[in-house]
């Protein structure tokens, strides 16, 4: 990792937190559906990385969002989980490309990127809403919220990722 990409990561960290807490968490589409776009940080973090640092940065990202939204540690918990299991999901969705560590998110085919995004976002949101609602008798509500928000987040993440990858080429 050179200085340039470190700077890029720090900048995207800050701007994603601000985007999330100032705008995305106030959308409240149909009453209460919000996208959680900050997960794109975990999704698009460079594949070749220091895993310890990556997990810690993801935790920090979630925790910062938590402080802004007064939600305890729900975002931190969900983010740290997807950061930890990301290699598994990468392997599942990209197969051999991941073994050679040669994935470039801007060039992979759309369907694979969709599967990869979808899996991580759904896992993240499922943990998030289980902890937010924190009531085993309301599991239908948890699944409902996970479904709606995941779709919203997925659309925004795909949009963002295609926007930024175009710039690079």
């Amino acid at each position: 990792m050179n200085n340039n990409s470190v700077l890029k990561i720090i900048l995207s960290f800050i701007s994603l937190v601000l985007l999330q807490v100032l705008i995305c968490s106030n959308i409240n589409f149909m009453g209460e559906i919000n996208p959680y776009v900050y997960v794109i940080f975990v999704l698009l973090y460079p594949v070749i990385n220091n895993r310890l640092l990556f997990i810690f940065t993801s935790f920090l990202l979630g925790y910062t969002v938590d402080i802004f939204l007064d939600s305890g540690g729900v975002h931190a918990a969900a983010s740290v989980v997807i950061a930890y299991i990301r290699p598994l999901i990468l392997k599942f969705s990209f197969g051999s490309a991941y073994d050679y560590q040669s994935i470039k998110f801007s060039t992979v085919e759309f369907s694979r990127r969709l599967v990869y995004f979808l899996l991580l976002i759904v896992i993240h949101h499922l943990i998030l809403f289980s902890l937010v609602i924190f009531d085993e008798t309301k599991s239908v509500l948890i699944l409902q919220q996970t479904l709606y928000s995941s779709v919203f987040t997925l659309i925004l993440c795909l949009l963002f990722s295609s926007l930024f990858s175009r710039k690079e080429t």
Partner: protein
């Protein structure tokens, strides 16, 4: 010992993950328990100033509507003054039992089960914990944390919120809480089944706690049913406030609160 170290070094990713995850989990569990949620929150200096900057940009969008609300309140207050039999003399030396401070909401939230608001007044404005927060239409919540310039409000739309209220007609009192479902409807419990209720009855604050003065409007009865043991009512209360579009609020300072606290401490000693 050597083996233990080796184990940690070998599984350092998993150990780090487990540490961070359990820390986040403990924060979550504590946030679901009002008594102990005294961690970093949105009323600290950094997050407060970021919300303040953003608010200074977006506040203009609501000006028209907020003006209308203020005008309506003003005319209502003037009406009560004009229709009063005795004109109250304005005395600058008069000590008020309750003082109001106007404040702005920097962050509003209503879609979670545990909602908090951030206000632009803090310790520098003599705001302390347990002060009540209201609008011209009804109650909003109770302050549960302050920093120098900002404070955090435990909204009535928080499953940990408990507010003492009564029926305006009959003076029977109970506790207002929220089940986390609709941001328009809260639940009033502890009213006995002997009490006569009808849909549309007004609920007001009881004044039994030092947080709110008596007779501040809260909401009206939307529907009611008996609980499982058939001796107490569960009443759905439709709030007068629209919690989605709050902007200007008042913080209520009870000047007797220190005296009351001193009395309680005196008893404990």
């Amino acid at each position: 010992m050597q083996q233990l170290f080796n184990f940690f070094i070998k599984n350092k990713t998993f150990v780090l993950f487990l540490l961070l995850f359990s820390y986040a989990l403990s924060l979550t569990i504590q946030s679901h328990d009002y008594q102990r949620s005294k961690f970093l929150n949105s009323s600290n200096q950094i997050t407060g100033s970021i919300y303040a900057t953003f608010h200074s940009i977006t506040q203009y969008f609501n000006l028209k509507k907020e003006n209308q609300i203020l005008l309506e309140e003003n005319s209502r207050l003037r009406m009560t003054v004009f229709n009063q039999k005795k004109t109250a003399t304005v005395d600058t030396l008069l000590e008020y039992k309750y003082e109001l401070q106007p404040s702005l909401i920097y962050k509003n939230s209503y879609s979670l089960p545990n909602n908090y608001l951030t206000l632009n007044k803090g310790q520098n404005d003599q705001i302390e914990e347990d002060y009540g927060v209201i609008t011209s239409k009804g109650i909003v919540g109770v302050i549960d944390g302050t920093s120098k310039n900002y404070s955090r409000v435990l909204s009535i739309l928080n499953t940990n919120s408990r507010i003492n209220v009564k029926l305006k007609k009959t003076n029977y009192f109970g506790t207002l809480s929220w089940d986390g479902e609709s941001p328009e409807i809260t639940q009033l419990k502890d009213i006995q089944d002997l009490v006569k209720l009808s849909v549309g009855d007004t609920i007001v604050t009881s004044g039994y706690s030092s947080t709110f003065p008596p007779d501040i409007p809260v909401g009206s009865i939307e529907s009611f049913r008996l609980n499982d043991t058939k001796d107490l009512y569960i009443i759905d209360v439709k709030l007068f406030n629209n919690m989605r579009t709050l902007e200007h609020v008042y913080i209520i300072k009870n000047n007797d609160i220190n005296e009351l606290k001193a009395l309680n401490n005196f008893n404990e000693q």
